[in-house]
């Protein structure tokens, strides 16, 4: 059986054009053996959720530097839920104040990463989390 790969969607919601972080993280996740779908700039929450559905990804990572995270992140979460994608590991990063991170982490986001995060740490966290989930699934099956 071919090896199962972690599939990740990296998306930039909203109008903010700062994609340095998103593209760097996408590249680093690829270098950690993941299959990374990068959807480009200026995506609406429904476009992101639709892409996540069609690509059947395990992880959705959002990047935002515009300050609109408290509006856009929950909308992405809701659009995913609407498509029955509650199982998707939801994460993200950008210029997000700590208290907002905490609020979002209590609202469907597994973990958010702030400025200065090591990309390797992000990759490792995804790998560990997904490995644990898959083991759990196997046990259930």
């Amino acid at each position: 059986m071919p090896e199962r790969k972690i599939r990740v969607l990296i998306a930039k919601p909203g109008l903010d054009g700062h994609d340095r972080g998103a593209k760097t993280v996408a590249t680093v996740l690829r270098d950690h053996g993941m299959e990374v779908i990068y959807t480009g700039l200026h995506q609406t929450p429904s476009q992101i959720a639709e892409a996540a559905a069609q690509e059947d990804v395990d992880v959705v990572g959002l990047s935002i530097l515009s300050g609109a995270h408290m509006s856009l992140f929950p909308r992405v979460r809701a659009e995913l839920a609407e498509r029955g994608l509650k199982h998707v590991l939801l994460t993200g990063g950008g210029i997000i104040p700590r208290e907002d991170m905490e609020a979002l982490e209590g609202d469907g986001f597994a973990k958010l990463f702030g400025p200065g995060t090591k990309t390797d740490d992000i990759a490792q966290w995804i790998q560990e989390t997904m490995r644990a989930r898959w083991t759990e699934e196997e046990v259930e099956a």
């Binding site: 109008l15 054009g17 700062h18 340095r20 996408a26 300050g67 609109a68 104040p97 700590r98 990309t119």
Partner: protein, 558 residues
């Protein structure tokens, strides 16, 4: 020069060098990568033989071709640089208040930051604007917002810089119309509109329409302003965003100047004389943490531009040869960890900008990796510039580092790297082709990933991030500046009221005229000014442009 050459080869100098090199081989060195922040290796010391410059041809005195040492003979003895802090958030009324605060504290020019909907040509009440109104800048959806923004500020006496690109010609039209309503002759308006669309496709990514119609609008602005708004800088060709997107210093230099050359070519192709528009082209660079490399970058930029404008494009007016530029300290160099350290970083970067001969300067606030800057942080940033200007005594002498072996060698190195890029770009069909194919973006991305690797492997050290770290969970003791969600509702109400009160027949006919000019090739800025007076909104005018010219789509980079 000939004396220097003789000295280079004199026996004593050569002996000294040999002895030094021998001593160096014996010396124990610290661990680490001895490169610039851009990854260019540097020698342990520079001396005669490391650089070959001809003083008259390569440097010249300040104010003399090729302006390596500065564009003015007196430099900061004549006038200090303009302290121009970029500001903007929330509604136009809130930003107006911040502008007055900054002017009261000694700032000498305004610089407007717009929110993302405005930067992308959407009104505050558009569906795509949801959640973004007033977040990273001020929302300006029509002339009415511009009038509030400039309320009580004498537009004939301040110079205003507007950082906007895709819809830049529309925003400039709002500004001109606003001045007219204040009773100010457009001939007296001073300022800059960024209007640099190529670097938007390459790095910053706030665009409106594809490259060709966007470039046409830029030449429309250049020709309109040449006669009617002659003190306005029609474009600010920006390396800042290219650098912030991850480029090296040499890439910032090369891509920015190559974009500049492209605009010159477009102006010439539109039938303008280079000396009618080139003096109004201004530049905008990043000042990053590598103190010397940045100073050399500014010096190299002046030399390259002067040479190309005179020798390649045949400009005869010395003002066409001179690069005048604004500098902003590097936002990417700021850290969320131990944010107070950012004051020190910004000071070093600001000093590099000043020693590099900048015409104006923005210093970042220490809290910008966390949110919009607070008033206190903005004030410290401004005071940083004032301390450099008033206390450090560095502003008395033009290009104080000129003639340093290291500085001259590195200036030359950056110039050579830029020239190599110009050749590569030419080979690939020019800057528009390189941008549409994603070449520039991929070069920047590669550099960004390399820098990130260096950071994570520890070859690049950053205090508080990968060395001298403190408990990561410690809450930064810094107040956050938040945008009240009420801003969005307020903007909706304002727009709704505006749409009711204006003459809708007039709006329709103005928008028709814009459409007609899109097709016929008439000057679009002229139409935008007229449409602004009728209170057509940004989104309405931009909407016509999108319908007529189509939307820009980014190429695949990864």
């Amino acid at each position: 020069m000939s004396e220097t050459r003789v000295a280079n080869h004199s026996k004593t100098v050569a002996d000294g060098r040999r002895l030094w090199e021998e001593a160096l081989r014996e010396a124990r060195l610290r661990e680490g990568n001895f490169t610039t922040i851009s990854g260019a290796p540097v020698k342990p010391a520079y001396g005669p033989g490391d650089v070959d410059v001809d003083y008259e041809a390569d440097l010249g005195w300040p104010g003399q071709f090729p302006y390596t040492r500065g564009v003015h003979p007196s430099m900061y003895r004549g006038r200090l640089w303009t302290m121009r802090q970029f500001a903007g958030f929330g509604t136009s009324a809130q930003t107006n208040e911040r502008f007055k605060f900054l002017l009261d504290h000694g700032q000498t020019g305004l610089s407007v930051a717009f929110d993302f909907p405005t930067l992308m040509g959407h009104d505050s009440d558009a569906e795509l604007s949801l959640g973004e109104v007033g977040q990273v800048g001020v929302a300006v959806s029509s002339l009415a917002d511009m009038e509030t923004l400039m309320d009580g500020i004498p537009m004939d006496r301040v110079s205003t810089s507007m950082t906007i690109n895709g819809p830049a010609p529309i925003m400039l039209a709002f500004y001109i119309a606003c001045g007219e309503n204040q009773g100010v002759d457009p001939k007296l308006l001073r300022g800059t509109v960024q209007n640099d669309i190529l670097k938007e496709y390459q790095a910053q990514h706030a665009w409106l329409v594809p490259a060709e119609p966007a470039l046409r609008m830029i030449t429309d602005v250049m020709s309109y302003c040449a006669d009617r708004v002659p003190q306005w800088n029609t474009i600010s060709i920006s390396g800042y965003h290219i650098r912030e997107a991850g480029s090296t210093a040499a890439q910032e230099l090369a891509f920015t100047l190559a974009n500049g050359f492209e605009y010159v070519k477009r102006g010439l192709a539109a039938g303008m004389d280079v000396d009618t528009f080139a003096p109004r082209l201004s530049f905008f660079f990043d000042s990053h943490l590598d103190f010397f490399e940045e100073i050399c970058k500014f010096r190299a930029a002046r030399r390259i531009w002067a040479r190309h404008l005179r020798d390649e494009f045949g400009a005869e007016d010395p003002r066409s040869w001179m690069i005048r530029f604004h500098t902003q300290t590097a936002g990417v160099s700021l850290t969320a960890q131990q944010p107070e350290n950012n004051i020190v970083r910004t000071t070093l970067e600001a000093l590099a900008g000043v020693l590099g001969g900048t015409q104006s300067l923005h210093t970042n606030s220490m809290d910008e990796t966390l949110s919009l800057p607070t008033e206190k942080a903005v004030k410290i940033a401004l005071r940083t510039q004032q301390i450099i200007a008033e206390e450090s005594e560095v502003a008395h002498v033009a290009d104080p580092l000129g003639g340093s072996y290291f500085i001259e060698a590195q200036t030359k190195r950056l110039e050579d790297e830029a020239e190599n890029y110009f050749q590569e770009i030419e080979k690939r069909g020019g800057m528009v082709a390189c941008t549409e194919a994603g070449y520039v973006q991929r070069e920047i991305h590669r550099a960004a990933v390399a820098y990130q690797r260096a950071l994570e492997t520890g070859t690049k050290r950053v205090v508080g991030v990968n060395c001298y770290t403190e408990d990561l969970d410690a809450e930064p003791e810094i107040d956050l500046h938040r945008i009240d969600p009420a801003v969005e509702r307020e903007q909706h109400d304002r727009l709704e009221a505006l749409r009711k009160r204006r003459d809708s027949d007039k709006v329709r006919s103005e928008l028709d005229d814009v459409r007609e000019a899109c097709r016929s090739g008439g000057n679009l800025l002229e139409r935008f000014v007229s449409a602004a007076h009728a209170y057509c909104t940004l989104g309405e005018i931009a909407g016509v442009l999108r319908e007529e010219f189509g939307e820009y789509h980014e190429p695949k980079i990864l």
